[in-house]
């Protein structure tokens, strides 16, 4: 099949290119999961063209995964500074609700309003963390609790539907036969990558996350940078919220983004960024997000009930953890060739 001809060589190439990079292990896990589906989940790789767009489970993975991928981009930077943002799910709900509320006014107002409140939410978190110096997990817990309430306040507890083609396009449209959300994710990824790698922001973030005291002694603007990453995480959450609302053509304040903060954090950590801060892997986070979505879709496709679906999910998380564990890898490497220490001892005896 054509998919096989394209996908596997591409994956192999990716693995090869990243063989000495932190990206390797999440990629390996993703490849294994895909391979499992190729072999055991009928129809998972079926692709066809319908209505001028690609149609199939793999496309769904990309489309559905776009929300976590967007969240993960912002979350990566937050985690790299040594923080965490629990409020992204609630921020998604607020952004979606505001967009739906303003949908009737005009498209730019709806989009701008949604993203605007998301930026405000991020700024609020940033303020609490950088100016009030509240521990991030608690600072963002406040908005996690209250944010969904704000979203419900905006929708008045109702599910608000909208039909505006532009807004519907955001989460359901296709560009060159692929979901528009994919383009959105790639665009945000490139933008983020440029922002952190073409300016000194990446270095600043990593320095602050690695040793904040030292960063301050070195004259780094620790507080502004922290503020900024939360605002950015808010923006990403806002975009994800718009996509989520657009996906179902309505704002469901109670459910949009529910528990998605956990998936986002998971994606980041699986992707190779440590929760303690410091070095971050932007691309790794995307792979992590894809891995999580693929897993979720796999479970649906294999008809595993949502209640017990957490068991295989746990097993995959732990497996990826173990794959990344330097200790286990050292042990495996030790199995392959005899330990040098052992050789030495024999020589000495």
């Amino acid at each position: 099949m054509i998919v096989d001809l394209l996908l596997w060589p591409a994956l192999a190439a990716l693995l090869w290119v990243n063989r000495r990079r932190p990206l390797l292990w999440p990629l390996v896990a993703l490849a294994l999961l895909l391979l499992f589906n190729r072999l055991f989940t009928p129809g998972f790789f079926a692709l066809e063209i319908r209505d001028g767009r690609l149609y199939g489970t793999l496309v769904d993975v990309l489309n559905q995964g776009s929300k976590v991928m967007l969240l993960a981009l912002g979350m990566t930077l937050v985690i790299a500074t040594g923080g965490v943002d629990l409020s992204v799910g609630a921020t998604m709900a607020i952004a979606g609700a505001v967009m739906a509320r303003l949908a009737g006014v005009s498209i730019p107002v709806a989009l701008g309003g949604g993203l605007g409140v998301a930026l405000l939410a991020g700024a609020w978190n940033g303020l609490l963390v950088s100016a009030f110096r509240i521990q991030p997990i608690i600072a963002t817990l406040i908005l996690m609790v209250a944010g969904r309430g704000v979203a419900q306040l905006v929708t008045d507890g109702q599910i608000i539907n909208f039909e505006q083609p532009a807004l519907v396009y955001l989460g359901n449209g296709s560009l060159l036969g692929l979901p528009f959300t994919l383009a959105l994710v790639l665009g945000m990824f490139v933008l983020t990558a440029l922002l952190v790698r073409r300016t000194a922001l990446g270095l600043f973030i990593e320095a602050i996350g690695d040793n904040e005291t030292a960063a301050r002694f070195t004259g780094l603007p620790a507080r502004p940078v922290k503020f900024l990453v939360y605002v950015f995480a808010g923006l990403c959450a806002g975009l994800a919220g718009l996509v989520a609302a657009s996906n179902i053509k309505s704002a469901d304040a109670n459910h949009i983004g529910l528990y998605l903060e956990l998936d986002a954090i998971l994606a980041v950590v699986v992707g190779g960024t440590a929760l303690t801060g410091g070095r971050f892997q932007l691309a790794g986070s995307l792979v992590g997000a894809l891995l999580i979505q693929t897993l979720g879709t796999t479970l649906y496709a294999r008809n595993v009930g949502a209640d017990v679906a957490t068991v295989p999910k746990a097993i995959v998380i732990l497996a990826v953890c173990l794959l990344q564990s330097p200790v286990l890898r050292a042990k495996l490497a030790g199995l392959r060739r005899p330990a040098p220490a052992a050789l030495r001892k024999e020589g000495a005896a």
């Binding site: 079926a46 199939g56 769904d60 879709t297």
Partner: protein, 293 residues
């Protein structure tokens, strides 16, 4: 205030438009009758609800009413309420208790019956021939369990009807859509010609998935769901949904009548049903303007 009772009401949450309508109905009715209502929202958590009930005791309310999050786990708190001499009315969902004197009465829908009616309608509509996909509610929740049970009962005798896919869509649009997508893409997906959704929201999400797959909801796939929210009526008018079994949230008036009876010391039946209908496309357009939620 001596003649007007103080009522404590603990609501499950605001997880759906249905629930919000339920809340509004109760609050609105209390206001209309000038009854002091102590309202507490449990955010879908039983432990919060128990806290609220115990607070109602501390606040010396005259009557306690609540929609339990789950069916079990109420014995201790209900005993405590009984000890304090406060009558309890259950709404929407029942509880399982060994001592029936722990509550006065239960007013609400019969979820099993709802499932049964959906099933019966389907048997008639499809003449006993259907390949069914089922979108289940939140795992473990009473409506999910009962609506599944009632539906299965109703189609049990039909050899030509079988459920080939059954997955939880968590009562939400987004999950309903996502799960339907995978249903349709599975190898058996092409044969699905009926969708049974435990609530309208999941059905509305699934309709989008069906449309994106290039199929016609309501025609290629017959869709029946439960609740009867406004969105479902709109979808029926548009021909995308075939039938919805009403589950009526507007119980405010009924509830406060019962409160008055309880305060007056009348004996009440243990189980009071809510008036509910079943709507298909033919009735939808007529009913739509009168839908309040």
């Amino acid at each position: 205030a001596a003649d007007k009772p103080v009522v404590g009401f603990s609501q499950i949450g605001a997880e759906s438009a249905w629930r919000t309508a339920n809340t509004d109905s109760i609050k609105g009715e209390a206001a209309k009758r000038g009854i002091t209502l102590k309202f507490a929202d449990a955010q879908q958590k039983q432990e919060n609800q128990i806290k609220a009930l115990r607070s109602f005791i501390a606040q010396n309310v005259d009557v306690i009413a609540f929609s339990p999050v789950v069916e079990t786990g109420w014995e201790p708190v209900l005993r405590e309420i009984k000890k304090a001499g406060i009558p309890v009315i259950l709404t929407d969902r029942a509880v399982k208790v060994s001592d029936p004197s722990l509550f006065v009465t239960f007013v609400g829908s019969d979820f099993v019956e709802e499932g049964r009616r959906a099933g019966k309608w389907l048997v008639e509509k499809t003449k006993g021939q259907a390949v069914i996909a089922e979108l289940v509610g939140t795992p473990g929740s009473a409506p999910a369990i009962d609506r599944k049970k009632g539906f299965e009962e109703a189609i049990a005798g039909q050899a030509g009807m079988k459920i080939i896919k059954s997955q939880s869509g968590d009562f939400t649009r987004a999950k309903g859509k996502e799960v339907m997508e995978t249903f349709l893409k599975s190898p058996e997906g092409k044969s699905i010609n009926v969708l049974y959704a435990h609530n309208d929201d999941m059905a509305l999400g699934a309709i989008q998935a069906i449309e994106e797959a290039g199929l016609k909801p309501g025609t290629d796939i017959v869709i029946v769901s439960i609740d009867g929210v406004k969105g479902a009526f709109e979808a029926m008018v548009a021909g995308k949904l075939n039938c919805t079994v009403e589950c009526n949230p507007l119980i405010g008036a009924q509830l406060f009548d019962l409160v008055a009876d309880v305060v007056a010391g009348k004996t009440l039946p243990k189980r009071i049903a809510v008036e509910e209908g079943l709507y298909d496309q033919s009735q939808a357009a007529a009913a739509l303007p009168s839908r309040q939620y």
